[in-house]
Homo-oligomer: 335 residues x 2
């Protein structure tokens, strides 16, 4: 790693998700230089999951060809699915039953003694990345959203990440958009996530009579494999003009628009970045989103809010995790 | 003012409201020592309003008996009805048409040269006061609400006031609690304020058949004068068991509860203080509020939120305004 050693070492960035673990080396100027991924061992117990992560990290730091030397690593930033204890970094990712209050931060710190190891929520890392290097760059006040299997986010106000009391500020998924709406997996009702999360949306469409893949054979590239009744197939069918699939996108877009209107009034930000699988539906989602947002965000200061697609794609989580170390003055609050 | 001179001078605190102007002298330890009030000249033009304010201040700082000497004043903090340009302090209070982009900060600064003069929204000053000296004291993460003719608030996260991009963060009144709810004066629909502001609530009750004062003659102290179809009369009648008035309080309480659930999920705070006229309805408001809050705030970190009545009453605005000077490290963000 002559490249990185020459510029003051590297940061190891880690992204812990329910379907994959990813890790990367990030230079001091914030460039993601090398990425490895591995599928999350399905149903793995705590040590099986840990071994998979260790193997991934070994390929990036250690004796492997192209790996950084351990003494080049100046810090480790981690984004993980929640819930978690923060900032102590014991994680209980919803889709990873093998880890319950697993001491992820401590275990990584034991492998990288003497450097900071910082863990935050994955959606917050994505928001940080979009603010640091993505489509929220240059804004002092921003909400970064992820609309995917869940709906999450992170909040930047006054140019700094807002953590809230437990590290969960920005979690827009449980803003109520319809008080008599569908039940949410949190136990509440009418939360944004209950309506707009991919699986919820697909379920709604199926209940309306949608059968996935009717249009798949004519779809393009990315969507050719559409077949399961999931949000990706739904987005593909919506693009092909399936009326129920289009109605589902409208339903999700309007729900996001109402939640953003509420959040903009409460938090007084100027930009919202939207990433995650559903954001790839493009105008089918963003059109109804804008419409509902403009209907509801009418108090003057809230009318200035702009909604933009996220810019960084699937590597956002790693970039944001690196920022916990490389731009800690803005993105890491605990003292 | 030997008292104040002995402890390093006084802060002049000012509260600009649609029905009254208030001003006070506050010692360096945050004690409100002397208060004067004057009715806001109804329909007054810009200079008429300014003269009324000047007269009020003259009685507190200058040659009057008991007044502070001008050289004792170490700063001026002002809470004003909005909207306003912030932090420059040009104000356009909704209920004071005579002031539109009136340079309130500059005019006061010209009278008190050489000391800081800071203007913020009145509801934010109330929230600051409740955090500094009231029922939010000791919490690092808090929403301070005012439920009155309007519904506003201020947000403290990480122990510091959150301003947002235009000084409006915490403005919970335009969080959407019912997307198909009544129109709001902001131009939106189903905002908390549209449902829970006093006049809106009274209007709803009248539409349901409520006639104010039916129970007033048997009411207690504060509410004896109830007669007009306003929120105070409504609260009085609710306490007397009038079913429509009680339903109105339930309607307002549930709306506040839903908005607080959304805000707690988004901002991750632990305490909400509720002040303003409607909060005096007590359990008739707080009962339904708690019920709706617990139904909707179900994600784990949000379940910890506690809702408490504000502690400081009508002097909160002055105390918070003084904190813009006396505790600027926590409550005044602009640099």
């Amino acid at each position: 790693m002559a490249d990185s050693a020459g510029t003051g070492g590297v940061v190891l960035a880690v992204d812990i998700g329910g379907t994959k673990f990813a890790a990367g080396l990030v230079s001091q100027d914030g460039t993601l230089m090398r990425v490895r991924r591995v599928a999350t061992p399905p149903g793995g117990d705590a040590e099986t999951l840990w071994k998979a992560l260790e193997g991934l990290l070994d390929g990036l730091v250690g004796a492997s060809a192209g790996a950084a030397r351990p003494d080049e690593v100046t810090g480790v930033g981690v984004g993980s699915g929640g819930p978690m204890f923060w900032p102590s970094g014991e994680v209980s990712p919803l889709n990873m039953p093998g880890w319950r209050a697993f001491p992820l931060r401590d275990r990584i710190a034991a492998r990288f003694p003497g450097v900071p190891v910082r863990v935050h929520n994955d959606a917050i890392c994505v928001a940080i990345a979009e603010h640091w290097q993505g489509s929220g760059r240059g804004s002092e006040n921003m909400l970064g959203m992820v609309v995917s299997t869940g709906v999450g986010g992170g909040l930047i106000l006054g140019g700094r990440l807002i953590d809230g009391g437990t590290g969960n500020a920005g979690h827009i998924g449980h803003v109520v958009v319809d008080p008599v709406g569908p039940p949410c997996r949190c136990g509440g009702r009418g939360c944004l996530e209950a309506i707009a999360r991919g699986p919820g949306l697909a379920e709604w469409a199926v209940a309306q009579g949608w059968r996935p893949g009717a249009h798949a054979q004519t779809g393009e590239g990315l969507y050719k494999e559409a077949a399961a009744a999931n949000a990706r197939a739904l987005a593909a069918d919506a693009k092909e003009g399936d009326p129920i699939a289009m109605a589902a996108m409208t339903r999700a877009g309007r729900a996001v628009g109402i939640a953003v209107a509420s959040a903009a009034s409460l938090c007084d930000f100027e930009v919202v970045t939207i990433g995650g699988g559903l954001s790839q539906a493009g105008p089918l989602l963003f059109g109804p989103l804008e419409e509902a947002l403009r209907e509801h965000a009418r108090i003057e200061f809230a009318t200035r809010v702009r909604v933009v697609p996220a810019a960084l794609g699937q590597e956002a989580g790693l970039i944001g995790a690196a920022a916990l170390i490389l731009a800690a003055d803005r993105y890491w609050g605990p003292r």
